[in-house]
Symmetry: C2
Subunit: 324 residues, 2 copies
Amino acid sequence: MPHKQQHIVDRLQEKIKNKRNPCIVGLDPVITLMPTYIVKNPSGYKNPLKAVSDTIKTFNKLIIDCIADIVPCVKPQMAFYEQYGSYGLEAFEETVQYAKRNDLIVIEDAKRGDISTTATAYANGHLGEVDIYSNISLPSLDVDLVTVNPYLGSDSILPFAQVCEKYGKGIFVLVKTSNPSSYELQNRVVDSNISIYEIVANFVNKIGKKYIGKKGYSAIGAVVGATYPEEARKLRSLMPNTIFLVPGYGSQGGKAEDVVPCFNKDGYGAIVSASRSILYAYRDTQYKNRFKPSEFYLAAREAAINMRDSVVNTLQKNGVLAGW
Amino acid sequence: MPHKQQHIVDRLQEKIKNKRNPCIVGLDPVITLMPTYIVKNPSGYKNPLKAVSDTIKTFNKLIIDCIADIVPCVKPQMAFYEQYGSYGLEAFEETVQYAKRNDLIVIEDAKRGDISTTATAYANGHLGEVDIYSNISLPSLDVDLVTVNPYLGSDSILPFAQVCEKYGKGIFVLVKTSNPSSYELQNRVVDSNISIYEIVANFVNKIGKKYIGKKGYSAIGAVVGATYPEEARKLRSLMPNTIFLVPGYGSQGGKAEDVVPCFNKDGYGAIVSASRSILYAYRDTQYKNRFKPSEFYLAAREAAINMRDSVVNTLQKNGVLAGW
């Protein structure tokens, strides 16, 4: 049976308002960037992948403990868990549950994309419930929102939208990604006047209309990179009811000014994500004189606060009213 | 340390030749389609997801035992494992190892797509080796080839290509997919004369040149749906050294005639995949009078033989020389 909850983006906005922060932290565990003291030696383990799984759990819990009162959500990047197979997914599952217990919304960055029954399997596994036995289904990965790739067309998105409606969950469809070569397909212009990313935006806007919450935003969101403010401006007007997940801040070069066009005048409409610049701040010249490697989570907390202050101040300066 | 092996597509062609069969079986475990006797009752399990995991292992092993002498590869669709989280991945891992022990090549249908270090994490996890501890790395999911989504552009493909070169593995890039709405983005025409799928094809052809094996085919392959023979003809000439993974045969409506344009005159250049029409053949009117549900794997074997014969006969009739 579906456990229908409050509309996911209404919940998200409530948290943004309460914490006065539209910035989120990506949970991308990379053992070679972690302080060495925290990385488990596999020699004490039957399976070395279990050592990594335990390292990731410990690392993520310390990070979550230190940022849960500051940020509305966390965004685990599935690749960094999945690469360790079933042991990695076990760490992912425990991270998701721990974040939820700490009252955080969980956005899984998975960029899944497939068709018909396969898309439904992904949607049910990540957001809904999976078949266990005749007439028994249960939640599995059970995140709140997941990122989705549109290359296969609308029949790769609609199964996700249906599962979102049934279980009160949401998705972010890749529209304009933050990476340098995103222009190769996404910015190609067809019929002399519309680009591929605008076609995807129009589609997101259209199907999103069916899933709008009380606060005016849809459960069908869009990924729009912080590194392309020009495109963001255009996309903001093409998708007025769409919440943008904005990656590329920090390590990828996106600055506070660059994310302003992603917001609506109400101060909502976007969440800005940073991963490495927060998690591994203790390695950064700005922090490393003041924090020991064993205090990495305190450096992460300070970096998360600095990011929040920088983004919020810039939004206010630019007349984006912090309704929150 | 990388375990560099024989070029993956050379290995694949050897198997196609030895078995005189370019058809492969997709391993898409769906418990509601399996005979009820094989589906484990979760009441005897501490975790109900473990029951499903055990069901999938049993089902896949029976299928593999029955087709290993007929087909060159199996193609597990990750969605049907991943939906069950870490327990599902455990079943995936055991399936991959079992298929390899039975001398089958494993193509993972995962359609992953991400950028830079995230793409590298996916590539290392699925095809290469993952970091465990300082100076220790080990293979993880360790499949032979994986499908990749190009929406993010070349910087989402190149990290996979590098891992393929290092570990003797391969990928199939989605070019023209088999689903009805694949035209929405893939067939859009830019600059008045080239479609998005052709842009992807040109890119696949170009980077693939670096990774060509002794038999003339690249480790960088392409997904080209059986349901679009017109496009396949065009793509065959745009990508002469590329092996096509051709889904959509059977359940999705692709027929033996439709896959002919995917092959080169040497009889190589494509592998044709079917999943449900083989795995669940025992439910089909063509087989269900002769096979009991408990003989589902025998029905699957016969369906796999029928598919092979149908495709091979059609190729021969159409002057595609069975070099194998």
